[in-house]
Amino acid sequence: MSARAVALPGIAAALVGGVLAVQVAYGGGSFEPLRPRAPCAARTVVSQSEGIEALTERLVLIAVDRAACRLDVSREAFLLDVAGPGVRSDAEVDALRAALHDAVAQMKADDTLPPASDLVDEALDAASLNGLLEAVIRALPDSAIDAALRTDDVLDRAIDDLDLRALLADLDDQDELEARVEVAVSAAVTDSLVARVRDLI
C-alpha cells in the first residue's frame, strides 16, 4: 500500500485518537451529576444556625440519614420522595419516627445536645403564654431548668407527639420538614416548662 493511500487514514486516526485521549484525560465521560452517597455512609452533620434552629437542623439531617439507611435508599431520594406528592407508606412514617429518636440518642451520646436552659428564651419568644407565667419561667435559674428538664426527654416527647403522617402529607419541599420539626420542638420545650411550673405551683 502506498504512503499516499495511508497518509489520510493515519492523520485521521491520530486526530480522532488525540482528541478523545485529551478529553478522557481531562475527565471526559465522567462529567455527570453528583451521585448520592450510599444510604448508610457516615456523614458529618454541621449547622450554620443557632439555638433551636441549629438543634432541629442537626436532628433532622441525622434523622433523614438514619431513615434513608433503614429504608435502604439514598438520603436525597428519601427526601424527594417524602416531600413530593402522594401517600406516605407506613414504612416511611415508622422509619422517620424511629430515625428521629435515633438522632436524639446519637446527639446525646455525642454530647452535642444543648441543655434545656439554652432553648428556653427562644421557645418562650415563639410561644404566646400569659405574661405572668412567662415572667415566672424566665425568672427560673438555668440550673433549676436543667434539673427539671432533660433535652433528650423533651425531644423524644416532641417526636412522639408529632403527627408525622399528616406532616409528611403536607410538605411542600425537602427542607420544610426541618421547619415543622423546629416548631414542634419549640412547642415541646414551652409545654414541658409550663407543665413543670404548674406542678410546682
Binding site: 499516499r4 493511500a5 497518509a7 489520510l8 487514514p9 492523520i11 485521521a12 486516526a13 486526530l15 480522532v16 482528541v19 478523545l20 485529551v22 478529553q23 478522557v24 481531562y26 475527565g27 471526559g28 465521560g29 462529567f31 455527570e32 451529576p33 453528583l34 451521585r35 448520592p36 454541621v46 449547622s47 450554620q48 444556625s49 434552629e53 441549629a54 432541629t56 437542623e57 439531617l61 433523614v64 439514598s74 438520603r75 436525597e76 431520594a77 427526601l79 424527594l80 416531600a83 411542600d172 419541599d173 425537602q174 427542607d175 420544610e176 426541618e178 421547619a179 423546629e182
Partner: protein, 446 residues
C-alpha cells in the same frame, strides 16, 4: 446580470439545503411565539425534510417533459412564496403547511438549478458548484438561523430568503438548457446508502449540539451559532487536505465517515460545559463532512443519466437520512432528558442540604428552587432567578453564590449526560456509513 446568474443559482441551492436545519436554533422561539408543544414544533424541522425526501425523485421525472428553466423558476418562486408564508404564519399548523410547500418548491429549485449550473459551467464544474453550494448550505444553516433569531427574530430566517429567491427566478429563466436526455442509468445504491446514514449522523451532530448548547448549557442562540460555525469552517479545510494527499475516492469517503464518528464520540464526552471542549470534536465532524458529502453526491450523479433524476435520488437519500436521524434520536434524547431529572434533583437536594447556610435560608432557597423546577418542567431551569430574588444576609451571600455555581454545574452535568447516548447513536450511524463504504461489494475481489 449575466455574470450573476450562476452565483444566484448556487446561492439558491445553498438556501434550500440550509432550510433543512436552519430553524433548529429558532425552535424554542417558535414554540413560545406560536404557543405550541415540543412535539408539534419538531415538525417544523421534520416536515421540510420529509417532504423533500419524498418528492425529490418524483419531481425529477417532471423535468423530462417540462423545460428545466421553467420548472426551476416555478420551484424558486414557490419556495420564495412559501418562505414568506412561513414568516407570517399565525399558527403552528400554518407554519408546518408552509414548510411543506417550501420543500416542494425547494425540490424543484434544487433539481432545476443542477441542470442550469451544468448548462452554465459544463458537466464537471456545474456539478461541483451544485454540490459545494449544498454542502455550504447544509453546514451553515444552523449558524445563520441562530444569528438571525438572536439578532432579529425567527421570522427573519424566512424573510431574508424571499429577496434572494425572487432574484433567482429571472436568473433561472435566463439560462438556455438542452432537453433532459431520456437515456437511463440505474441509481448507484451504495453512495446513496452511505449518504443517508451519514446525513442521519450529521443531523445528530448539528441538531443535538445546538440543543445541548442552548437548552442544556443555557447559551444564547447567537453564541451557539458562532460555536457551531466550526463545522462549516472545518468542512472548507477538508478539500485542500484531500487535494494535498490524494488518497483515492473510497479512502477519502471512509476517512470522512470515521472522522464524523470520532467527532460525535468526542461530543458525547466533553470534560466540562466549556464551549472550547466542543471545538476539536466539531472540527473532526466538519472535516468528515467536507470529505464525504460532496464526494458521495458527485459519485452518485456524475455521468449518470438523466442527471436530474440521480440528483433527485441523492436529495431523497440525504433527507431520508435526516428524517431517520431525527426519528431515531428524538425519542432517545427525550427519554434520556426525562431520566436525567431524578439524578439532577437528587444532586440539587444533596447540595442544598449540605450547603454552609443557615437553616432558614436553606428552607427558603429549597422552596424557591422547587417552584422553579416545577414551573420549568421539561426544560433546564434558570436557577439564577431564585438566587437573585432570595433575601439573604450579606454574610451568607458568598456561600449562596458558591451554591448557585455548584447547582448550575449539576444542571450542566445532567444535561450533558442526557445527550451522551444520542451522540453515541449518531456515532454508530457514522460507523454504519463507514461499513457501507469499506465492506466489499458482492462479487468484487479484494
Amino acid at each position: 446580470m449575466r455574470r450573476a446568474v450562476a452565483p444566484l443559482l448556487a446561492v439558491t441551492v445553498a438556501l434550500v439545503l440550509a432550510d433543512s436545519a436552519v430553524v433548529t436554533l429558532a425552535l424554542p422561539d417558535i414554540l413560545r411565539h406560536l404557543d405550541t408543544s415540543v412535539a408539534q414544533v419538531a415538525w417544523v424541522l421534520i416536515s421540510f425534510n420529509l417532504v423533500l425526501a419524498l418528492v425529490a425523485v418524483p419531481t425529477a421525472l417532471a423535468f423530462t417533459w417540462v423545460p428545466p428553466r421553467v420548472l426551476s423558476a416555478v420551484g424558486i418562486a414557490v419556495f420564495a412564496a412559501a418562505s414568506a408564508g412561513c414568516a407570517v404564519a399565525p399558527s403552528i399548523e400554518v407554519l408546518i403547511a408552509a414548510r411543506c410547500v417550501q420543500a416542494l418548491g425547494g425540490a424543484l429549485a434544487l433539481l432545476g438549478c443542477l441542470e442550469l449550473l451544468v448548462a452554465e459551467y459544463g458537466e464537471r464544474r456545474g456539478l461541483a458548484a451544485w454540490v459545494t453550494a449544498g454542502v455550504v448550505g447544509t453546514a451553515t444553516g444552523p449558524v445563520a438561523g441562530g444569528l438571525l433569531t438572536e439578532a432579529i427574530s425567527w421570522q427573519a430566517i424566512f424573510v431574508v430568503q424571499v429577496p434572494v429567491a425572487a432574484l433567482a427566478v429571472p436568473a433561472a429563466l435566463a439560462v438556455r438548457v438542452a432537453p433532459v436526455p431520456t437515456d437511463r442509468h440505474r441509481p448507484a445504491v451504495r453512495p446513496h446508502l452511505t449518504l443517508a446514514l451519514l446525513s442521519a449522523a450529521l443531523t445528530a451532530a448539528l441538531f443535538l449540539l445546538v440543543l445541548l448548547l442552548v437548552d442544556g448549557w443555557g447559551r444564547s442562540p447567537a453564541t451557539a451559532a458562532i460555536t457551531v460555525s466550526v463545522v462549516p469552517v472545518a468542512a472548507l479545510a477538508a478539500r485542500p487536505l484531500a487535494r494535498l494527499l490524494r488518497p483515492g475516492e473510497e479512502v477519502e469517503t471512509a476517512v470522512g465517515c470515521f472522522l464524523v464518528a470520532g467527532g460525535l464520540v468526542g461530543l458525547a464526552i466533553p470534560p466540562s460545559a466549556h464551549l472550547a471542549w466542543t471545538v476539536a470534536p466539531q472540527a473532526l465532524v466538519g472535516l468528515g463532512l467536507g470529505l464525504t458529502i460532496d464526494r458521495l453526491t458527485a459519485r452518485a450523479i456524475h455521468l449518470r443519466l438523466p442527471r436530474v433524476e440521480h440528483a433527485g435520488w441523492t436529495i431523497g437519500a440525504r433527507h431520508v437520512g435526516v428524517v431517520v436521524g431525527l426519528a431515531i434520536l428524538t425519542p432517545v434524547f427525550t427519554a434520556d432528558l426525562e431520566d436525567a431529572q431524578a439524578p439532577a434533583q437528587e444532586a440539587i437536594a444533596s447540595l442544598v442540604l449540605d450547603a454552609p447556610l443557615p437553616a432558614q435560608d436553606k428552607i427558603a432557597l429549597a422552596r424557591a428552587l422547587g417552584d422553579e423546577l416545577t414551573a420549568q418542567q421539561g426544560q433546564v431551569p434558570d436557577l439564577h432567578r431564585v438566587f437573585a430574588a432570595a433575601d439573604l444576609a450579606p454574610g451568607v451571600r458568598p456561600a449562596a453564590a458558591a451554591l448557585e455555581r455548584d447547582l448550575d454545574s449539576q444542571l450542566e452535568r445532567a444535561a450533558t449526560r442526557a445527550f451522551r447516548d444520542s451522540f453515541l447513536v449518531g456515532a454508530g450511524l457514522a460507523v454504519l456509513a463507514l461499513l457501507s463504504v469499506v465492506v466489499p461489494r458482492p462479487g468484487r475481489r479484494a
